[in-house]
């Protein structure tokens, strides 16, 4: 049974059909790619599944539960994490606080704990801090824990964002262009981290990418989206050799 299933999802922005009859089935532990030219609707699909928009038609099921129309925070707590195309970090908060914030739903101490420093608070805070550190360790930025995020280099900020998404303990992680704007060195490191995280935490990953190398290397199954419709789906070789994909998206620049 797939972990995440989307059945014939269609979405309109006013009169514009942004997504048409979109189907998706992600198995546990799978890494999936979503490619397509700019404006094809890739990020819209992410926004629809994560609850920022409610699809005009269609059904989204996470594990056994239908999540269509739920609030973003509800979907997030059911096990769907995500990062953004443009970094969305909290300026002036330090790295550790970013990851701690992602433990929001696990914090049970209330006003008493906050004002009087009860043993319960001390215990929970220590646990959360431990978990946060090990996540930062996993993505390789634990030595930057007390730094303000705006002071970090771009690659490190991306990793903080990843650690923050992981801290919500997702069963499936959506990555929107995880290597956007990275130099070749940062790119190689990021791919390594994604593989490492995938192996370590055994989660499913769904990623949007523009760089063919990243998608082809990481993903087991790739969908190609053009004008809101899937024109091809298959493993990297099939996608690479699909004439429609080459025509619509890869063009002549890619070596086939």
């Amino acid at each position: 049974m797939p972990l995440l299933r989307v059945d014939s999802m269609t979405h309109y922005f006013g009169g514009l059909r942004a997504v048409h009859n979109y189907d998706l089935a992600i198995e546990p532990g799978q890494i999936r790619g979503l490619i397509g030219p700019n404006g094809a609707g890739k990020t819209t699909i992410f926004n629809l599944i994560t609850g920022r928009y409610t699809p005009t038609e269609g059904k989204i099921v996470l594990e056994d539960r239908e999540i269509t129309g739920l609030q973003p925070h509800q979907i997030a707590s059911l096990g769907l994490g995500r990062t953004f195309q443009n970094l969305r970090l909290w300026r002036h908060m330090n790295v550790l606080d970013h990851v701690k914030m992602a433990h929001y739903s696990k914090i049970t101490y209330g006003l008493m704990g906050a004002f009087f420093g009860t043993p319960k608070r001390t215990r929970e805070e220590a646990e959360i801090e431990d978990e946060s550190y090990s996540l930062l360790e996993l993505v390789g930025v634990s030595h930057l824990a007390d730094q303000i995020v705006t002071n970090l280099p771009y690659g490190a900020q991306r990793r903080v964002e990843l650690a923050r998404a992981l801290a919500t303990q997702p069963k499936i992680l959506f990555l929107d262009e995880p290597t956007a704007g990275m130099n070749p060195e940062e790119l190689a490191q990021m791919m390594e981290i994604i593989r490492h995280v995938h192996a370590e935490l055994e989660l499913a990953i769904f990623l949007i990418e523009h760089r063919m190398k990243v998608v082809m290397d990481l993903c087991q199954v790739i969908q190609t989206l053009v004008f809101g419709e899937v024109i091809a789906e298959g493993n990297p070789d099939e996608i690479r050799n699909n004439p429609m994909v080459i025509d619509a998206y890869l063009g002549k620049e890619v070596e086939v």
């Binding site: 920022r52 997030a76 707590s77 909290w90 002036h92 004002f115």
Partner: protein, 311 residues
């Protein structure tokens, strides 16, 4: 020297009201990026709730079920009034958010500003319609005692008002720094979009922000009633605008800035009034603030970036 100290003490008290109200403006701006222009009237409602609660408690005390020395009884009533009125006013603030602002989250900011002004008018005229146009006099909960230090006279009321204000600000600081809700507020102030992905129900945080601001406004209303025991339905307008100016002066969204700027505004007003004819108080005080803002348009702790629209 005596002159300076005396006015300093007066200014601390006067600034407490502004600071407590300004915090509400600033928190809401920080989290939702809108100015709640009904906040001055929420302060007025808080003062009225305080008036009714304390009058009720005094009536109950007069029945004589509990025998306590008058001073102790009055102090107890004051504390209870603060707690109950702050609690009740929280719901006033939350109702303002839920009914007035939440439907407008996606609307242009101007709509929210106009709505705020209208909610303010509804609160003022609603009060007028319900309780009539006569002014209310806030019951005496503290028998004034005056102390003399080196020619400076301090009343116990002033000490109490400043202490309670500082205590509430400290409590707010702890709340924002140490609870998960406060942490979510801070995160929302920086980037709103990701916060729900951390499993945070942002509507709850929005309600909480309005509620907390309104609780502080209620405290300001009661403390004001203790110091200047005359309440009228329009008392919130001028106070609201001045506290709004303090929030801008402190830097939009900065809680620390709002507190400090509230006190600063109190200082400027008191000293201007002490030196110049008091009819010129607002003219001169606000000219000074205009000058400060010319040099620092983003206030003391605000960030000099162009605010992007969110929500």
């Amino acid at each position: 020297m005596t002159f300076l100290l005396q006015n300093l003490i007066n200014a601390l008290q006067w600034g407490s009201f502004y600071a407590l109200i300004a915090l509400g403006y600033s928190m809401v701006y920080g989290v939702l990026m809108l100015f709640n222009f009904a906040h001055g009237d929420v302060f007025m409602v808080g003062a009225y709730i305080g008036f009714f609660v304390s009058s009720g408690l005094l009536a109950v005390a007069a029945l004589g079920f509990v025998a306590l020395p008058t001073g102790v009884m009055l102090a107890l009533i004051l504390v209870l009034t603060l707690i109950i009125a702050m609690f009740l006013n929280t719901f006033v603030g939350m109702a303002v958010e839920r009914i007035g602002y939440r439907p407008l989250r996606a609307a242009p900011r101007a709509s929210a500003a106009i709505t705020g002004l209208m909610i303010g008018i509804i609160l003022e005229t609603g009060n007028l319609a319900l309780f009539g146009a006569q002014r209310r006099s806030f019951p005496t909960l503290i028998e004034t005692a005056t102390f003399q230090f080196a020619g400076v006279s301090v009343t116990n009321k002033k000490i109490m008002i400043v202490l309670v204000s500082l205590l509430l600000m400290l409590a707010l600081h702890i709340f924002v720094r140490r609870t998960k809700w406060g942490m979510a507020m801070r995160a929302m102030a920086f980037d709103y979009v990701v916060v729900p992905l951390m499993g945070v129900p942002i509507n709850l945080i929005a309600l909480l922000t309005f509620g907390l601001g309104s609780a502080l406004a209620a405290a300001a209303g009661i403390l004001y009633g203790v110091a200047y025991p005359v309440l009228d339905p329009y008392m919130g307008i001028l106070f609201g605008w001045k506290a709004f100016v303090a929030a801008i002066l402190g830097g939009r969204g900065s809680v620390l800035g709002a507190g400090l700027a509230g006190f600063l505004l109190g200082f400027i007003e008191i000293f201007v009034a002490a030196i110049f004819p008091s009819t010129m108080r607002d003219l001169i005080a606000f000219s000074i603030i205009l000058l400060i803002l010319t040099v620092r348009p983003h206030g003391f702790f605000g960030e000099p970036y162009s605010a992007r629209l969110r929500l």
